[in-house]
Amino acid sequence: MAAERDDDQEGMPQGDLARESFLRRLRALLHTQPLHQLELHKGMRGGGPDKYEPYDLLALQLAAIDYIADHQNPLRGVPLEEVQQEVGHLAGAMAPKRRAGEHREVATLVLSALENEGAGAFTLSFRDPYGPGHPRQSDVKLVTPDQAVDGSIELRATPQAINLLLDVMDVDIESAERAAAYVLRLQVERGRLRSAAESAERMRRLSKAYQGSIQQAILTAQRDIGQVDWAGRVMAEIERAYGHVDERLREEAAIIEDVAERHAAAAEPGQRQALLQIKELLEDCNRYHRELHTLLMDARTRLLEQHASQRLAPPPSPALVAMHADVLLPVLGLAVAPADDVLTPFAAGTVPPLPPALVSVSRVADHLWRARAERQVALRPVVPVELDDEDEAQPRFTPEAVAFARELLGRDHRGTPLSRLLSEASAPGSPPGAARLVALGGLEAFMDAGGEVAWGDEAETWRLVPRGLTAERTGGRLDHPDYAGDELALTRAEP
């Protein structure tokens, strides 16, 4: 998987291969641009031209990436405070006479710049001299903030940033690891310990980069576990990576043993110190490879399970859509405006119908004003609806009750309490429902509007509350066994 980029080029004509390599190296150089920017423009930052003069911001950024890459692991980034402290410490060494607060400020500036001040990727432009003349763009992220389980911020160096540690060269990491180990062995055998230590340090960085690239590939494949070709390409790549890591582990163990023996036998302190340093660096490589070994073992188990279930399951319905391959990737590959044309109906289909909290008059009106032919209705023939009044279960007021209530409400009232009318309407012998009508009439009078109650034949409208009848609160309560609430006094104005 480290050689993924090279895999893509198999079968490519020689000229294309050279051009791809050229572009990769050009991009790698380009990716250092954000680091230079901060250093080059430091004099223009607030605080005057001299404020950042003693600080080499380029070196501090690279040191920050180094520190993060060294301390992160597959599961966790490095706490922001820890990196800030480390970078602040290095800034302090550059300008010991400046105050500690300023060192911390420089550290914040450096980390914020690496993250592109919260804006995500840096978009960088370049021109391909062998391609079409227009400018091209490349996005790069160096350090990404990550939220830890406790909510704190951790930083991670991206594979692109880690590549910066590899001398900005276009390398096949697997081959480079093998070569570095070979060179290291020779150097140790020949006693060139200073060079050997440099090789060991290179091996350590290479193993870190390899870990990063494999980890990324595994995570990507595992997320799409249902739709990748596990049995084919992914399985082959995992097996190859597994073989490589296995080989590295064995070779590292052999070199560590050799170096440990030499260390035990060495008498000269400088030599002992150098051998110890080499051993520690190799142990780091070994640790990265062991972590990777575990990750690959897990991935292999998962893919075998997935492969088995893929083989045993019946084929899915052809009417269904593979969301990742058939929708997500095609939409991501669209320009923004046409992507919107797909995403809008997609979202409309995902979210269930919701009555708007506030009715949007324009939407309802648009809908109602549309010609009938436009509406996509009628999955089946629409049968004309006949409304039927057959439902006799609904209680209704009888003409007697209405007449009784009208008589009570139509009297010449001068502050008559509603309770008294209610008592009359509910007295034995009164028509059922009359009291309820009186209560309603009282309320209508209170609203200062002569109400109308439709009853019986639709053409005939009966006025329940006479014009001029008003009601107002007395401050007391209704005195009636069936009705409760404010007492009202009814008064009828002179016609």
């Binding site: 893509d8 919260g118 990550d146 058939d326 409309a348 289909g349 979210v351 919701l354």
Partner: protein, 236 residues
């Protein structure tokens, strides 16, 4: 066919329940009886379906617990992405739309997953990683038009958004994708598409509900797929 007032009233009540995605029979009085009526009484079903289709709504599924309906694109009850959380501006709307699509594709990456019964746990960070990995996949694709001037691709737009809020508090971004995904998942809870589960070590966890599968399978994926096909034909 003679339709009674009672049938219309019942159909309207059932539609009312169906338009409340978090309403379930057993939790709402009368809902179970109406569901039973819908399943067993053909005449009532016709009344309901006619009422729903007049509002450009479609019955997607009926279970013992709920009647699931979807809105056609013209329905006055339909969800408008442009009206969702200040998404009137194109870039913002596309990022929001990609998040909705990303959540769906994360839950149902394959055809088979739209048929399976299990739904994976959802965590905002995981969904974001999934979306970014898909974007990265396009970045590396040969022939991908990532460098045409003035033509911003959806994957580039998404990758440009910060993942979480910047560490410099004065410059905190309002468009961090992990935060937006979490916000969308919260809305999905309101819309009855996911539930929130007990957090795992302080990280909020959600899980899809069957309604999410039904909506994606019967409505969303079909809408999107047909627009994509149309775009392909136009560009062919």
């Amino acid at each position: 066919m003679t339709i009674t007032r009672q049938q219309i009233a019942d159909a309207a009540r059932l539609l009312g329940f169906a338009c409340r995605p978090r309403a379930y029979a057993g939790r709402e009085s009368g809902y179970a009886e109406l569901l039973n009526l819908y399943r067993t009484d053909e005449e009532f079903r016709d009344v309901f379906d006619a009422m729903a289709s007049g509002l450009d709504l479609r019955v997607l599924d009926v279970t013992d617990r709920a009647l699931l309906i979807g809105a056609d694109l013209d329905s006055p009850f339909g969800f408008r992405l442009s009206e969702y959380r200040k998404s009137d501006e194109l870039d913002r709307r596309v990022v929001r739309g990609l998040i909705v699509l990303g959540i769906a594709a994360y839950c149902f990456p394959t055809q088979r997953s739209l048929e399976d019964s299990g739904l994976p746990p959802l965590m905002a960070r995981e969904v974001d990683d999934f979306l970014r990995a898909a974007c990265e996949q396009l970045r590396g694709r040969p022939g991908e038009r990532d460098d045409e001037p003035g033509l911003d691709m959806a994957w580039q737009l998404y990758l440009r958004q910060p993942e979480v809020k910047g560490t410099d508090r004065r410059r905190r971004s309002q468009s961090a994708t992990v935060d937006l995904i979490e916000q969308t998942l919260e809305d999905f809870v309101e819309w009855g598409l996911v539930v929130e589960e007990p957090s795992a070590g302080g990280v909020r966890r959600f899980r899809g509900l069957p309604r999410l599968r039904v909506q994606v399978r019967a409505m969303a994926s079909q809408h999107a797929f047909s627009v994509l096909q149309k775009l392909r034909r136009e560009n062919a």
